[in-house]
C-alpha cells in the first residue's frame, strides 16, 4: 500500500549528517574546530598540560551534565546540582577532615547525600507536582545554605595527593614518569557508555523519554510514572554526588557558598549537545560533546586574551543559538 513506499523512502532519505547522529555530529565538528582555532591562536593552548587541565575542568561538569540529562528528558530540569555538588563535597570532606573517617567513607557519604537530594527533588516534582524549576531552585538554596552551615563557613580541603587518604585523587589523574595522565576521562567515557545503554535499551530510559514525550499517555499505558519520574532525579542526584567527588579530587579546597552557576554549565552543555528543553529528545553522548564546547569556551577564551566576563557573554550567546536551533527543529517537525 501507499504507506509502505512512504515510510521506506523516509527511511532512506536520511542525510549524511543525520546518519552520523545529527546535531551531535555537527557539535563534535564544532569542538574540533574550536580546538584547532584556539591552538592556532595561542601557543600556550597547544600544550599537553593545557589539554590535561581542560579535561580536569571538564569532569565535574560532564558528570553533572550526564545526570541532568535525565530530568531534562522528562521535560524538567534540576537546578540544584551546582550548589548541591559543593554541599555534598563539604559534608563528605568534613567527615574525613574533622572526624577522621576514611576517605572511602567520605566519598560514599558524599554520593549518598547526592542521591538523597535526588529523591527529595524527585518527590517534590513527581509526587507533589511542584514545577521542576521551582522545586530544584528551592533545593538549590537549601543545599547552598546547608553545606555552609554544616562546615561553619570554612573551606574544606580534601586530602592532597601524597597525604593520608590522598589516593582518591589518582582516580582522575595518575602520574607516570613525571607526566600527568588524565585517566578520569576514561571513567567519563565508561559512564557515558553505561548511561547511554540505560537510556536507549532499558525500561528506565524508555520511560524517562516517554514521560517527556507525553506523561499522561505514559500513565494510561500502565507505567508507574511516579516512580520513573522520581528516578530521573535520583540519577541526577547520584551523578551530582559523583561530580562532587570529581570536584574534590581536582580542586585543592572546596569553598562553602560556591557552586551556584555550575549547573548552568552542565545544563548548557546538554542543550548544546542536542537535549531538548521540552523533553524526550537527546542523549548522553550528545551531552558529553556539548560539555566540551562549554569547557573549551571557558578554558580557551583566556588564552586568546578574553576575560572571564567575556567568557560568560559568549557562553550566553552560544546557549541562545543552541536553544534557537532546538526551537527551529521542533517548528519544522510540527509544521511539516
Amino acid at each position: 500500500m501507499a504507506n509502505k513506499s512512504v515510510s521506506k523512502t523516509a527511511g532512506t532519505k536520511k542525510s549524511f549528517v543525520d546518519r552520523m547522529g545529527g546535531q551531535q555530529f555537527i557539535v563534535l565538528i564544532i569542538v574540533i574546530v574550536m580546538f584547532i582555532f584556539f591552538s592556532a591562536m595561542s601557543p600556550g593552548f597547544r600544550k599537553y598540560t593545557t589539554v590535561v587541565s581542560i579535561l580536569d575542568y571538564s569532569y565535574y561538569i560532564a558528570l553533572m551534565a550526564i545526570g541532568v540529562t535525565f530530568p531534562l528528558l522528562t521535560g524538567g530540569v534540576d537546578l540544584s546540582i551546582g550548589t548541591g555538588l559543593i554541599c555534598y563535597s563539604l559534608i563528605g570532606g568534613l567527615l574525613v577532615r574533622q572526624h577522621g573517617m576514611p576517605v572511602a567513607v567520605g566519598m560514599i557519604v558524599t554520593i549518598l547525600i547526592g542521591v538523597i537530594f535526588g529523591i527529595i527533588n524527585g518527590c517534590l516534582v513527581a509526587l507533589m507536582d511542584l514545577p521542576p524549576f521551582l522545586a530544584t531552585l528551592c533545593t538549590c538554596m537549601i543545599t547552598r545554605g546547608f553545606g555552609a552551615f554544616v562546615v561553619g563557613g570554612y573551606g574544606i580541603p580534601w586530602p592532597a595527593a601524597g597525604q593520608d587518604g590522598g589516593w582518591f585523587r589518582s582516580i582522575f589523574k595518575i602520574q607516570v614518569g613525571g607526566q600527568n595522565i588524565p585517566i578520569g576521562f576514561l571513567w567519563i567515557l565508561l559512564l557515558v557508555a553505561i548511561m547511554s545503554f540505560v537510556l536507549n535499551h532499558t525500561k528506565m530510559g524508555r520511560y524517562t523519554r516517554a514521560i517527556g514525550s507525553n506523561k499522561e499517555a505514559t500513565r494510561l499505558s500502565g507505567v508507574n510514572v511516579k516512580f520513573y519520574h522520581i528516578m530521573a532525579y535520583v540519577i541526577c542526584g547520584l551523578f551530582a554526588g559523583l561530580a562532587a567527588i570529581a570536584y574534590s579530587a581536582i580542586f585543592a579546597t572546596v569553598q562553602p557558598g560556591s557552586g551556584a552557576g555550575f549547573e548552568m554549565d552542565a545544563i548548557g552543555g546538554a542543550i548544546v549537545g542536542g537535549v531538548s528543553m521540552s523533553g524526550a529528545v537527546g542523549n548522553v553522548t550528545g551531552t558529553l560533546i556539548g560539555v566540551f564546547v562549554i569547557c573549551l569556551l571557558k578554558t580557551g577564551l583566556p588564552f586568546i586574551g578574553l576575560t572571564a566576563n567575556w567568557q560568560q557573554i559568549i557562553t550566553g550567546f552560544v546557549l541562545i543559538v543552541a536553544v534557537l536551533i532546538d526551537i527551529f527543529k521542533r517548528k519544522k517537525e510540527s509544521g511539516k
Binding site: N3, H201, T202, V223, V281, E333
Partner: protein, 498 residues
C-alpha cells in the same frame, strides 16, 4: 451477535454537585458493534471510565464473562481484556510505533529491552489487521489515521475481548474512516465486543448493530440500529426534533458586493496558488480532506503564517496582512478549530474574553472600563443566547457550544465583517450545533461574510452558499450549492492535479 460478554446494570455515580450517572444499563454481546450515544455531558465517557476503573462506581454491578468484576485501574481492565481506545490519541510522538504499542510491558532480554522482538510482534499485529505500518517509524511522523491504527493495534495486543472506541473518527479523513470500519468489522467477526462512541449519526447507521442512548446521565434506551432511523436516535438523545433541512440554493442576495478577494495566494507547501472571492452575506464553505491546506490557507489569510506571494483585497482595496493584528484591523475574525488553544482564554471570564480583541475600545488609558465591558458582554450573552450564569463566569466552565459563542461575541465586539469559522462545531453536541448553525445563518443575513472550513460533509452541504474544495494545498474546485453533491465534492477533494 453472540452471547453476552459484558453487562453493566444500575450504574450510579455522583460527583460533588453532579449526578453524573443515574442507574445506567449497558449490555455488550460478543461479535457486535454497540454504539453508545448521547450529547456531550450525557455521561458516556463517565460510564466508560467507571468500566475501566478510572472512576469508582457508587452502586450497580458490572458482569464480565459471567463473573461480577470491579477493575481498580486501567491496567487491571486491560489485563482482563477490556481496553479503551481514547478520543485524544495517547501517543508518545518521540518513540517508535512498536515502542508505543508495547509501552509498559516491554519484551526484555535480561535488563535490555528487546526492540527486535517488539518490532516483530508489532508487525504480526498489523498483519492481522491487514494494514501496513512500519513498526520502526517514529510515531509523530505518521498521519493521525495511522496513529489511530496503532492505538487499535495496541488494544488488540492486550488480547482484548471488549474494545471501547471513544470518538475514533473525530480526526480522520473519509478514507481513513473506511479503513477503520474495515478493521472494526474484522474485530467484530472475530467475536470481540465493540463499544463505539460517536457523535456522527451517519457512522452509527453504517457500523453499529445496536445503539444505547444516554441523556443527562440517565439511560434512555437501546435500539437495534437497522430497525431505527436517524431521527429516532436524535429524538432519544435530545428529547426533541431538531434537524433542519440543508440549503438547496444560494441564499446570498443578488449582486452582493465582493468583500474579500484572494488572488494567487502562496504560503508554504500547504497553500499553493489559492484564489477565491467572498461576498457580503455569503457562507463560503471550504471542503477537503484532512491536510488539504484549508486551515493553512485561513491562517495565512489571517496573518498567522507568513504569506509568500499573492494579493488580498478587502472591499476592493489591496491590503497587506503580515500579522493577526493587521487582519483584525481589516475586519477579519478567525474562529480557530482548536478553541482551547487559540480561541479563548479558558481561565478568564466571559466578559474578559468578549473584549479581548478590542480592549482599546474598553480602556481609559491603561485602565479597563469594567462596567462597559460587562455591559457589552451581557448584550452578546443575550443576543447569542449564551448559556452562562453570568458574564463573570470562567469560560472553562461553559460547554463547547457556549464557548464557541463567546468567541463569536469576541469578533462581533471588534466589528469584524469577515468571519472565518474553522470547524465551527467540532466537539459540540448535536443540540448546540444547531444553534451555531442558526447563528451563522443569522450573521450572514445581517451582512457578515462567512468562510466556513469543515470536514463534515453534511455540515458543508447544509450551510454553504458556495463551496471551495481543496486538495493537497491547491484549490481543486468551486461549486454553487445548487450543483453540489457529496460525490462531486469528494471527487474534487481527492483529485490529483498536475
Amino acid at each position: 451477535m453472540g452471547e453476552v460478554i459484558l453487562t453493566m446494570k444500575g450504574i450510579d455515580k455522583s460527583f460533588p454537585g453532579v449526578h453524573a450517572l443515574d442507574h445506567v444499563d449497558l449490555e455488550v454481546r460478543k461479535g457486535e458493534v454497540h454504539a453508545l450515544m448521547g450529547e456531550n455531558g450525557a455521561g458516556k465517557s463517565t460510564l466508560m471510565k467507571v468500566l475501566t476503573g478510572i472512576y469508582k462506581k457508587d452502586s450497580g454491578t458490572i458482569t464480565y464473562e459471567g463473573k461480577e468484576v470491579e477493575f481498580h485501574n486501567t491496567r487491571e481492565a486491560q489485563d482482563a481484556g477490556v481496553v479503551i481506545v481514547h478520543q485524544e490519541l495517547n501517543m508518545l510522538g518521540h518513540l517508535t510505533v512498536a515502542q508505543n504499542i508495547f509501552i509498559g510491558r516491554e519484551f526484555k532480554k535480561g535488563i535490555r529491552i528487546d526492540d527486535k522482538k517488539m518490532n516483530e510482534e508489532a508487525r504480526k499485529l498489523f498483519d492481522r489487521m491487514h494494514i501496513d505500518i512500519d513498526p520502526k517509524e517514529t510515531m509523530s511522523k505518521l498521519t493521525v489515521g495511522k496513529q489511530q491504527m496503532c492505538e487499535i493495534a495496541k488494544a488488540i495486543s492486550h488480547e482484548a475481548k471488549v474494545i471501547i472506541f471513544d470518538e475514533p473518527s473525530a480526526a480522520l479523513t473519509e478514507a481513513e474512516i473506511e479503513e477503520l470500519f474495515k478493521i472494526i468489522r474484522d474485530l467484530r467477526d472475530q467475536g470481540l465486543g465493540i463499544v463505539y462512541i460517536s457523535h456522527r449519526m451517519d457512522e452509527i447507521k453504517v457500523i453499529t448493530d445496536r445503539v444505547t442512548v444516554m441523556r443527562d446521565g440517565a439511560y434512555v434506551g437501546t435500539l437495534i440500529t437497522k430497525d431505527c432511523t436517524k431521527d429516532d436516535i436524535i429524538n432519544m438523545m435530545v428529547g426533541r426534533v431538531i434537524y433542519e433541512d440543508p440549503k438547496t440554493k444560494n441564499m446570498t442576495p443578488k449582486g452582493s458586493p465582493v468583500v474579500l478577494k484572494v488572488d494567487h495566494l502562496n504560503a508554504g507547501k500547504m497553500v499553493q496558488d489559492v484564489s477565491f472571492e467572498l461576498h457580503k452575506g455569503e457562507v463560503l464553505g471550504f471542503s477537503g480532506l484532512m491536510g488539504a491546506g484549508r486551515t493553512e490557507t485561513m491562517r495565512a489569510l489571517f496573518g498567522a503564517d507568513p504569506i509568500e506571494s499573492g494579493d488580498i483585497y478587502i472591499n476592493g482595496k489591496k491590503v497587506t496582512i503580515k500579522s493577526p493584528q493587521d487582519a483584525v484591523k481589516h475586519g477579519i475574525g478567525y474562529l480557530s478549530e482548536d478553541r482551547k488553544r487559540f480561541g479563548i482564554v479558558v481561565q478568564k471570564s466571559v466578559a474578559e474574553n468578549t473584549t479581548m480583541a478590542d480592549l482599546d475600545e474598553f480602556s481609559n488609558g491603561p485602565f479597563i472600563n469594567k462596567k462597559k465591558e460587562k455591559k457589552v458582554a451581557e448584550k452578546f450573552v443575550e443576543s447569542l443566547a449564551t448559556k452562562t450564569p453570568s458574564v463573570d463566569q470562567l469560560v472553562v466552565n461553559l460547554s463547547g457550544g457556549n464557548q464557541q459563542k463567546v468567541v463569536i461575541a469576541k469578533w462581533l465586539t471588534r466589528n469584524c465583517d469577515i468571519l472565518i469559522f474553522d470547524e465551527p462545531t467540532r466537539g459540540i453536541d448535536v443540540g448546540a450545533k444547531n444553534e451555531i448553525y442558526k447563528l451563522m445563518n443569522r450573521l450572514a443575513a445581517e451582512g457578515k461574510a462567512i468562510i466556513m472550513v469543515s470536514s463534515e460533509m453534511t455540515e458543508i452541504l447544509r450551510m454553504s452558499d458556495r463551496i471551495v474544495v481543496m486538495c493537497e494545498g491547491k484549490k481543486t474546485g468551486e461549486l454553487d450549492i445548487s450543483e453540489a453533491t457529496q460525490e462531486n465534492i469528494m471527487n474534487m477533494a481527492t483529485r490529483e492535479i498536475n
